[in-house]
Assembly symmetry: C2
Homo-oligomer: 191 residues x 2
């Protein structure tokens, strides 16, 4: 899905993208995404506007790229590697890690959600759904809940999780993650 392979990129290209991503991150803390022009971003990044367009077709694509970088990091750091866990423990551990991932980047994600053009924390949803679906398709999980379609379960739980995350990010006085997770446990019937 949101796989970014930068290996093949020229040093100059990586530098340009880093500058553009950095400029966008900075500017989004200053004013809403919608009010930022490509011209603004390029001025801040000290990159020529035509160079911008040789990398991204518009500012939405740059934001998408920025979020994809975060998603890759989220997926690779938050999903438990331990193959011995059951689906329940797996889900709860993943949930805990993902919440703390978002908590660490609260300001940026809030800005993304508030920007009218909120280009996709949903990318993460698709990406995580894919991972989870793959996992839940394994025999040991199928055996535990034979009547549940792994794809349905995957989209159900990732959607639920990210809905809670969005709500939690936008809350002015968010509940503690412990409290949230304690509630969450009661919504997962599978073992």
């Amino acid at each position: 899905m949101g796989q970014i392979n930068e290996e093949h990129l020229d040093m100059r290209q990586r530098k340009t993208r880093k500058l553009l991503v950095g400029a966008l991150s900075e500017l989004m803390e200053e004013k809403p995404f919608q009010q930022l022009s490509v011209t603004d971003i390029c001025r801040r990044a000290m990159v020529h506007r035509t160079t911008f367009y040789s990398h991204f077709s518009d500012k939405q694509q740059l934001l998408k790229y920025l979020l994809e970088e975060l998603e890759n990091k989220c997926i690779s750091t938050c999903l438990p590697k331990d193959p011995e866990r059951g689906p329940r423990e797996y889900l709860l551990t993943a949930a805990k890690n993902v919440f703390s991932f978002f908590a660490q980047r609260r300001a940026l994600y809030r800005a993304c959600l508030n920007s009218g053009a909120d280009a996709d924390v949903r990318m993460l949803e698709q990406c995580a759904s894919g991972e989870l679906c793959h996992l839940l398709s394994e025999p040991r999980f199928r055996a535990a809940s034979p009547n549940i379609d792994p794809c349905v379960a995957a989209h159900f739980y990732t959607g639920a999780m990210l809905s809670l995350i969005r709500w939690w990010l936008l809350s002015e006085n968010p509940m503690t993650t412990d409290h949230l997770l304690a509630n969450l446990e009661q919504f997962i019937p599978i073992q």
Copy 2:
């Protein structure tokens, strides 16, 4: 939330908005939202471009307005009115109704989801969460599941539902709603 009150609007304004919404709906079946210009929309709607800007700040806002109209209809027609049901039956009935609502508008919603600027089936998520939270806060529901925070439950279930809907809308060969609902039943532990 996504409340649109058109009562106070002049006849001329309602006409203009109707024309613009109609033009956008038509054009979105022809090419992706991203490739549509305000100029295109106004040409199709036979409305002057400056008039467009006196109603909406940009095309995203028009799309948002279009979706909000649908949300209002969805909320008012899909949520069960019968106050005697328990939360489980309530959730399942609502789910069934919402699925068929989206199924009837499959093409339009697919277009919205595919348009890079996917301005918010998520609005509906917030709106429905609010409704559901309000409902689950009622004493009869609290008594049934005293340890569950109604807000958490509301965001959990609406997020899960809408994630499934998005997945289902984007699938080329979607499973039947009956099959989906049969799976869904297994994810709702509360009675």
